[in-house]
Amino acid sequence: MGDIKPVYLEEKLKEIEDSGRLDYRSKTLPTWCPGCGYFSIVEAVAASLCELNIPNESAVMVSGIGCSSRFPFFVNSYGMHTLHGRALPVATGVKTANDALTVVVVGGDGDGFAIGGGHVPHAARRNVDITYLLFDNGIYGLTKGQTSPTSAIGFRTPTSPYENPDRPLNPLLMVLSYGASWVGQAYAGRPDHLHRMITQAMAHRGFSYLHILSPCVTFDKTHRTYGNLGMQVRDLPADHDPTDRLAAMREAMDDALPALGLYFREERPTLADALDGLVEKAGGELPGKVAAKPARKTARR
């Protein structure tokens, strides 16, 4: 039960308008099923872009195929809606062409860890300076509810009518082991925390991977529902050290009670840095040092 202290609408509206985050929304109303957790994510991304003061034209949203991949249409920025599973390579191309852009890749669990699973390790180890938001609802929504690589064992779907025999992947553990330089987890049902995590992920220089747990309100009425997720998620322990990859992996191992927060963070050269380095090593000359990144405000909170 929330605070029942009355909220005065016009004050609230003014606060929201003044914040400027509406500028990061497109005009189009999102077409996801009402109640979908993805609404929470698009809202948080808008708020984070706003908070980091990233100019709209410097942001690029790249996606593949799936429910989540409609995302670029709802953000007031550049975007690409590419092929199933191929968003990460496209984003790598975009980022390599212009390092000044803020590139956000969005995709679902199927896009990222089924068809496109082969691309994730490479984007991570190269430390492409992009933010990869993985919308994990543990199901294939767009094809109407089949199992995904993160579906639980025993989950019944049209393609696993008796039960899903496969154990789910642990993308966090995978990505930690792939060498991603920023790894975190959030939950669509906690919009505040989600927003803070996205802000940090975007602010990070390098490949940031944010795993976002979300329900599929249309096809999953039993497993990953708001009700279940709400009870399962916990915060990372207060004393968790985000520079300790092993500690992060230990926390990531607990997929029954997923912990929310920043698992791991390190600063290391990005793909662009490495390419620049190769050029230097070859004795070439950089084509007029890429303009400094657009100014970023540090997170307000």
């Binding site: 077409t31 996801w32 099923c33 009402p34 089924a114 929504g141 094809t143 009518p161 249309t218």
Partner: protein, 596 residues
């Protein structure tokens, strides 16, 4: 009295349009009517896309849908308004009586109902909420209303509703409540006595069963009746339901189905299982077939049986994923790298889906090659009433086995000569061990880059397929209509043939001398029989749902003669009227020439 009624339900995604159509079809089929139906739905799960459930209910099986419906049900006016004029004179339009939001002038469907049509406003939402305290059951409320309006028996509907919600007792009870309140409301309304259901005609022969089924379900049934052992697949519209249905039924028969991570993996697994002797298949649509092309080449060169069910949709790329089109013929017949001949069969109706699906496994084994069964979204999702024979008309095992090997004689997996089909051995059998490779190989299956060998093997791979044209109990092509010389011949393939046939029959009714031919086997091509037909025709019309005229291209590659192409890509089935118009034009042209 014979029945011929068409009902359309139009709604927005999430309104339960398709579900309502399913219940209605099942109820009517349960009563013994023949049904042909085809649903149209948008790519979004929710949101604002248009859904149409459209069905034609007849005493005898019809070939296609009609252009005008007898009843239109609107679950969403913004989508239904453009279809209001598709209701025939004296037909009925059933719609939501009151809007929740203020509408602009003309925003309500009642503004678009012509003077000849009958309006039926129903407080659908209110009735739904009244009966179940929720608005989800609006679709069932209208079904209740429809049943009342057309005086259809409750039992058939309640059975169909119970079947729809079989695992959810609560939903079934709510469905029944919604149905009853709709029906009750109809009792207060003006009766539509123009749409009359005559008595259904039973065509069940002893032992056979009659089912209202769609193309994909028929494919599944054919595969099961042919004894499919393994299936690997990846969801893609409009083929997904093949896999979904197999997922339910295959384990019951000891079969194994696996959802792989992508099409590349799926076709790989199918080839592996085929090598190991299983009857294996996958299903996909155009984009998936593209991904599979590389592994398809492997199947051809390795002479591994494999069955690929392909349901076409609008392309290229993601294109029109929920719309129908016949534009993958080129890829199915020619697609891939290298000289990679394969068998491609394209059924023309739901019954054909069943037969082709079963025969595909025979063909794959008999000619040791990947077989593509090419349907499209229209046929996959189209429901028809099909009579299934008591015994499946498929051979359980047509493997040509190597038999007892002479001591010391090496087993030639790819032996040349004869009908070019070599004995095929399966792992686990003694004395016939060999290697299947993607490299060009000799008769033993060992790598060989000799030019002669590549020529010989290429010829073998092509020649062996000729046998498929004479494969027993398989319709390769078939002629309908007038015998002998005709003014106009219509030749077509796939789902589009129903409309072509109906148009040809109508043209005959108008006194035009004409005939039609359906071509089921596209590769290898039945050149002789098609050429004979074309020789009878003064004018040839080739209607198909693609822009390029892919079938006409294929036809002309085998039989050089001018044809008239009718190509449409509206994402929907072709209109019978359009084909008919073209036949009339061609017949007129002929007459004019004669007169001159």
């Amino acid at each position: 009295m014979s029945t011929d009624i068409q009902i359309s339900i139009v709604g927005s995604a999430g309104d339960g349009t398709i579900a309502a159509g399913d219940i209605l079809k099942n109820a009517l089929a349960g009563m013994g009517y023949k049904i042909i139906s085809f649903d149209i739905y948008p790519p979004e799960i929710r949101g604002f896309g248009k859904c149409i459930a459209r069905m034609r209910i007849t005493t005898e099986q019809a070939y296609s849908l009609k252009h005008k419906s007898d009843v239109l049900i609107s679950l969403d006016d913004s989508h239904a308004i453009p279809h209001a004029n598709e209701v025939r004179e004296c037909g009925a339009v059933i719609y939501e009586r009151a809007s929740i939001v203020q509408l602009p002038e003309g925003g309500h469907i009642s503004a678009h109902i012509g003077p000849g049509q009958l309006p039926y406003p129903v407080p659908i939402r209110e009735l739904a909420e009244k009966s179940t305290s929720a608005n989800r059951s609006r679709n069932i409320v209208v079904l209740g209303f429809l049943a009342g309006l057309l005086d259809l028996p409750d039992e058939a509907f309640l059975k169909a509703i119970a079947r729809k919600f079989k695992r959810k007792a609560e939903a079934a009870a709510a469905g029944e409540a919604a149905y009853r309140i709709g029906r009750e409301f109809a009792a207060q309304t003006f009766k539509l006595d123009d749409v009359v259901f005559g008595p259904p005609v039973s065509t069940v022969v002893p032992g056979a069963s009659v089912e209202m089924i769609n193309g994909n379900a028929a494919i599944v049934r054919g595969a099961l009746d042919a004894g499919i052992d393994t299936f690997f697949g990846y969801p893609i519209t409009p083929a997904t339901s093949i896999m979904e249905r197999l997922a339910i039924d295959m384990p019951k028969r000891g079969g194994r189905l696996l959802q792989t991570e992508d099409e590349i993996s799926a076709i790989s697994a199918v080839i592996g299982a085929g090598f190991a002797g299983a009857r294996a298949a996958t299903s996909t649509s155009g984009p998936g077939l593209s991904l599979m092309a590389e592994m398809l080449g492997m199947g051809v060169i390795g002479e591994v049986p494999a069955v690929i069910f392909v349901s076409q949709r609008g392309g290229p790329s993601t294109g029109l994923p929920t719309k129908t089109e016949q534009s993958d013929l080129h890829m199915a017949v020619f697609g891939g790298h290298g000289d990679a001949p394969r068998i491609v069969i394209a059924p023309t109706n739901v019954d054909g889906c069943y037969r082709c699906a079963g025969k595909a496994f025979e063909l794959a084994e008999a000619y040791q090659t990947p077989v593509i069964v090419l349907v499209d979204l229209y046929l996959s999702n189209r429901y028809e009433t099909v009579v299934f024979p008591a015994r499946p008309p498929f051979e359980a095992d047509v493997n040509r086995k190597p038999g007892k090997q002479l001591a010391g004689a090496p087993y030639k997996r790819y032996a040349l000569g004869g009908d070019s089909v070599s004995p095929r051995a399966i792992p686990g059998e003694k004395g016939t061990m060999h290697v299947v490779t993607g490299l060009e190989h000799n008769e033993l299956g060992r790598p060989s880059d000799q030019g002669e060998m590549h020529e010989a093997m290429s010829r073998k791979r092509h020649e062996k397929l000729q046998g498929a044209l004479k494969h027993p109990d398989l319709t390769v092509c078939k002629r309908f209509g007038d015998e002998g010389a005709v003014d106009v011949g219509v030749i077509s393939w796939g789902s589009n043939f129903g409309e072509s046939l109906e148009a040809m029959l109508k043209a005959r009714g108008e006194g035009i001398r004409c005939a039609a031919m359906k071509v089921v086997m596209l590769s290898p091509f039945p050149t002789e029989r098609v050429a004979a037909f074309l020789a009878d025709c003064k004018e040839v019309l080739v209607p198909e749902l693609n822009y390029q005229g892919q079938f006409a291209n294929l036809l002309q590659a085998h039989v050089a003669r001018p044809v008239t192409r009718l190509n449409r890509v509206p994402g929907e089935p072709m209109k019978v009227e359009d084909i008919l118009e073209e036949i009339r034009r061609l017949a007129g042209k002929k007459a004019a020439q004669k007169a001159a």
